[in-house]
Symmetry: C2
Subunit: 409 residues, 2 copies
């Protein structure tokens, strides 16, 4: 794909070594030529794991594999390939997962069920896992603690820039680190998570605590974003804790001592989720939709997603038109409690419509200026209750049609 | 709009006079210049009416007006303007409806509540109803029984061709006629009906019987179509029976004597609904999605709409790519019962995927040929039960972005 880098791209931050994680990438030639497409991560003994996955009823074989492995709560390795999603491949798909995990497990010296597998790319073609298995030994031998950028690049498909984030947090008096990377650009309306995202911490955390934190954090980040309303078959977010940091013991129920850790984890997840939206296929503008005054937070989120998924709203934004009438339309179609005559809509901090009608003589100049920018803010007040939510999307442009009218060919 | 006529356009059929209906159109200068934008229909005394409307929580003022008028079950006139939807216009919107209805009622000599009002066009701008009221007397004086094409053209907005359909049916030994016209091109995912559709018959039918027939017919036609997943604030389908035909009396409960009438009504509704999809903004291909093997008909319809609304499926079709992997993705995200390993997907009559994997060595040549055509057929068998549904959509092309990135400007 000769797609130019997204104008909304951000620079990959420096991702420093994180105790207990070694990473690397190689070119296994699974689909792409002349680029890395196979990534491996080795994790220290004792690493705990949490994960959330697509809600698709047609998930890929790697999703089934990870769900089963998650029951053990332990991880020693992750193997990811780009270019072939290993989805809708029947028994061949299951065999590919088992063979890949077995090969990685032999190299690391662990049970196969402590190996997590993710695949991304075209759907419905059998994954040539023998190429993957053949490339693993040299890849494993070359794993490094500074291999983060290589790993972030190796999992890209239609992505135009690599995506990473890192934060530090205190547990007791000890500092721990949380770092992660993600890929995703199209087929993005995560219902559990986005395409692929891997987050690591050197904290020592019970798997049950991690799972609860991850589900909550994903609910407010990845699950509040959409590029094109199409939920992938391969959405995966995995969180690994290597337990290498020295900090007071975290009890099985987690609790207040993880407050700062939770804040940092949520920040990493949101940072990565927004990088995915910034790399939305064809995106020229990042759009934030703040919904308030809904009957519940869940209702607010659904209204926000109805606006964020509306092709008419998204094309208007691409055309730099603050078309609040289309926003009203999208609120109305959401199926959630709404009262036309209590509804207010604003763009770029200016309320354009209030209480069922246009605001007479509102100042259009700052709105016009706001629409020309790279980041567009839409505010919706339903005027009914205290429920609120924020969702993010991008505009819908000719670039999306270009990319997706010819992806396979 | 200099949008070229849709390549999927069909010729407006000859719509012969229908006893009890006189129609016409004029240029009231409400928004457009140099074209008709105001349509009036006068109906014989005794005409009964049924209607279905948008499920939007933010409906336009004309929707509220029609819902209230429908309670009476009688209609003598319809006034429709194009260019301004009179939506989200507060008290000014309600006043515009009342004034327009009052003016038409004076001309026809009927109560205002027997006048039905519809508006289509831009949202959020106050309708200059004084222009409408001023144009009505001359329009009324010129109504004709052969004014069908003028009326069908006068209600168009981004439509690239006028849409009409007519059928005859037997009630007892008597022949009755059903004719209708519609408009719609974007903001099309009718949840009750499409943008605007008016259907007339010379049969004599109780309003309650008509309402039941209309709701059932719309459920299998307009409500099974989508252009862009955006449900309009103004969707309206009205059915009028002038009672001018001579046929045996239809009882209040309808019943078997309406079997042929129902068949013809359903055909008119489906014909008009498909014309709207054929004029979908930017459409190059008409797409039919047949879903079978679902647990229920409702579930089948939801799966069909998930496929028909998927931007990735629609852009693949635009690119003439029979990308069944994206169809699997869309089935998976629908949230309906599905089992990946029982799922089959076919395009153009060729099963490409069966029981969770690609069909080895399926014949790709006829599929490639099928995708180059104007009409694309997708078959999905969920393999679970006997529920089935058919939905229709169009592809997603650069034309859609062109039209909607600059609609207001």
């Amino acid at each position: 794909m000769a797609t130019p880098v997204s104008p909304l791209a951000v620079k990959l931050p420096e991702l420093p070594p994180l105790a207990g994680v070694r990473l690397g990438a190689t070119a296994a030639g699974i689909r792409y030529q002349g680029r890395t497409d196979l990534v491996m991560m080795e994790l220290a003994a004792g690493t705990t794991v949490a994960g959330v996955f697509t809600s698709s009823k047609c998930p890929g074989a790697p999703i089934d594999w990870c769900r089963a492995s998650l029951a053990g709560g332990r991880a020693r390795a992750v193997v990811v390939n780009a270019g072939n999603a290993n989805v809708f491949t029947g028994k061949a798909g299951r065999d590919a997962c088992a063979a890949s995990a077995a090969a990685a497990a032999r190299l690391v010296g662990c049970p196969a069920k402590q190996v997590f597998i993710a695949s991304t790319g075209v759907i419905g073609e059998v994954l040539p896992h023998e190429k993957l298995v053949a490339a693993l030994p040299a890849l494993h031998a070359g794993l490094r603690d500074d291999g983060w950028e290589a790993a972030a690049r190796g999992i890209m498909t239609t992505d135009t820039f690599p995506k990473g984030a890192t934060r530090t947090a205190k547990i007791g008096d000890a500092e721990v680190r949380i770092s992660g990377f993600a890929k995703g650009s199209g087929m993005i309306m995560p219902d559990m998570a986005t395409m692929l995202c891997f987050v690591f911490t050197d904290a020592k955390l019970p798997a049950g605590v991690m799972q609860a934190l991850l589900e909550k954090g994903v609910g407010a980040s990845f699950n509040c974003t959409t590029v094109d309303s199409d939920t992938s078959t391969s959405d995966t977010v995995l969180l690994f804790a290597t337990g290498q940091a020295k900090h007071p013991r975290v009890p099985a129920e987690g609790g207040r001592m993880l407050a700062d850790f939770t804040r940092a984890l949520d920040a990493v997840l949101l940072d990565l989720a927004l990088q995915v939206v910034r790399d939305g296929e064809g995106a020229q503008k990042l759009v934030r939709v703040d919904v308030s005054g809904a009957t519940t937070a869940r209702s607010a989120k659904r209204v926000g997603l109805a606006v964020a998924n509306s092709p008419l709203v998204k094309t208007a934004i691409a055309g730099e038109d603050a078309n609040w009438g289309r926003i009203v339309m999208a609120v109305g179609k959401a199926g959630e409690p709404a009262d036309r005559d209590k509804l207010s809509v604003g763009v770029g901090g200016v309320w354009m419509a209030r209480n069922g009608g246009v605001v007479p003589g509102y100042d259009e100049a700052p709105v016009v200026q706001h629409m020309k920018g790279r980041e567009v803010e839409i505010a919706i007040d339903l005027g009914l209750g205290r429920g609120k939510a924020t969702v993010w999307t991008c505009d819908l442009t000719h670039g999306y049609i270009d990319i997706n009218g010819s992806y396979r060919s």
